[in-house]
Symmetry: C2
Subunit: 337 residues, 2 copies
């Protein structure tokens, strides 16, 4: 199979025959957002050995790639529509192996396209001589939209920059599962299916993002990819605020809690490890009930973990006695090896 056959047989079935994708038969995709809507566009790169093990299941690689990008759209409060795919494959893996890998990869995409109501709009594939499966590099550009024009402030989207001192800090789902799951995958912790699943297949909080953006509930939002503390730092910096969160309020899964009971030294991995893809956001106290209702509506657990403070106060993690705790390793670099 040459490049054109791969596109036609494996990828074109994932794309609409008409606009935006034209069955992948044109030079570019064409998309017109609904009247008054703005486009939201994000792009992430993933590499074997950095973001997933080189021998990871191809379908899971595809779904994680799509989901980490959808998580960025969710953090903006955008409805996802489509994506463009870039694949740099090793060419010394043997043609049959490569085609089999691509078919499994496409099957993973097909599955998540249904889950998230998105479609393939375009992309590009290159083969690199001498780069095997370990040299796999993928990129994905996800496109969504938000209501409201740019003229009315900043479109109807969530930003990192709108938090005010006194706003409550919320987080969706549970924190630390991805980082602990990676440790399980690497053999540094005993295997735990739940945690490994959370690492291998994150859950982008698309419904929650929409529920927070449309009625203007949240004042700021970010998705937790670098680690709870690092991303709280990004949000606080963009908003010109400080922030304080209580460690005991950070929502943990049963699996993470059990690991912590056995080894309290796992706290830094949980708080600074990253790969959570949960939404971290702020809202004024009087919106607390409406935020909780938006969580319930979207089937997403939401927890209050702290509050925004004034700029000079910095970003603090408080222990059970209300004293600041220093955490090593804030600012995760995503490296597996």
């Amino acid at each position: 199979m040459d490049e054109f056959q791969v596109i036609e047989e494996i990828f074109a079935p994932l794309a609409p025959a008409g606009a935006p994708a034209f069955g992948l038969s044109d030079d570019a995709a064409v998309y017109q957002p609904g009247a008054g809507r703005a486009m939201v566009i994000t792009k992430d790169v993933m590499a074997a050995g950095v973001h997933f093990p080189a021998d990871e299941d191809a379908g899971l690689v595809a779904r994680k790639l799509l989901r980490v990008n959808l998580s960025d759209l969710a953090a903006m409060g955008a409805a996802p529509h489509g994506y463009l795919l870039g694949l740099a494959l090793g060419s010394d893996t043997g043609s049959d192996t490569r085609i089999e890998w691509l078919r499994a990869f496409a099957a993973g995409l097909a599955q998540d396209q249904k889950t998230f109501a998105v479609a393939l709009w375009g992309g590009d594939t290159v083969s690199r001589a001498g780069a095997g499966v370990g040299g796999l590099v993928l990129s994905l550009t996800a496109i969504g939209s938000v209501p409201g024009g740019l003229d009315s402030g900043e479109a109807g989207c969530l930003r990192r920059s709108g938090a005010k001192p006194g706003d409550l800090i919320f987080v969706s789902g549970s924190i630390g599962d991805g980082a602990l799951g990676l440790k399980c995958v690497q053999g540094d912790l005993p295997a735990d299916e739940f945690l490994m699943g959370r690492y291998r297949l994150p859950e982008p909080r698309v419904g929650l993002g929409l529920g927070l953006a449309s009625p203007g509930l949240a004042t700021s939002c970010i998705d937790v990819s670098d680690g709870l503390l690092a991303d709280l730092g990004h949000l606080a910096a963009a908003s010109g605020c400080g922030a304080e969160i209580e460690r005991r309020s950070v929502p943990l899964s049963d699996a993470a809690r059990n690991m912590l009971i056995a080894d309290a030294d796992l706290w830094p991995a949980i708080l600074a490890g990253g790969d959570d893809y949960e939404l971290l956001f702020t809202a004024p106290g009087e919106k607390r009930g409406a935020v909780m209702a938006a969580g319930k509506e979207s089937g997403t657990p939401v927890t209050v973990i702290g509050r925004m403070t004034s700029a000079g106060a910095g970003v603090l993690l408080l222990d059970e006695k209300g004293n600041p705790v220093k955490v090593d390793g804030a600012g995760f670099q995503h490296h597996i090896g």
Copy 2:
């Protein structure tokens, strides 16, 4: 410098502080096309050793990456606005070397941002342990827009699919320079600065694409990246037509013509080599004058090289006597090595 410093110091200066890019400080870009305009989105991947030599000047790598994507937008008749960048860098090249490379890369982008009136809207950078300069993989998503809604046919854009039997076939600029330039770079032909320059830094025909699309002059269009004959085949297939072009009409640069005089065996490289990034398009005979005027207006040479035929006739290259010529190697795979 960590990932965040690289973004802030090297890439953020290339991005607007407000929308769409928010100074690269948010999770995604937000862009609202003008009233009634549709977005055009394309994505290409380039890899060291495949699309450029591993030791290529970083600024030229950046500019080629941007330009090959702008060429796709030009083929749709779109006005370019912005781009998202994905970089997978080797991490064993040494920090200083990497930062120096990134600065030169960004300087190349800055230069072409001015030339083409585009800006950086977002992206992602990853470092891969064990992958050196030769492991460099880049992707770029370019975003433009065209007038006209999707309701009115297929937006105001050029497509591959609108050619009719009897339409004239046009091509911009000169053909074969990129493929011959690659042979010069590889040492298979004597060094020629003009040809090597054409290979290393293509000229996307943005102005011509706009001139052909807006008044509905061209019935179909594609950019020549896979090779003149292969891309003519794509256009003919999408349009449900055959096509015939005259070899003697294919526009050649003086440098290419001189190479051909010395060695007629270079014809296949010229006609099937690819990396031209010229526009190949069709228009009815009565629009010939208007097409030539659009070429002149945009400062782009335009040449008639043949005509579309009925579907059963196939895609033919005719020699000086009007006899079909078979060309080896149609369907270039972009491999350097």
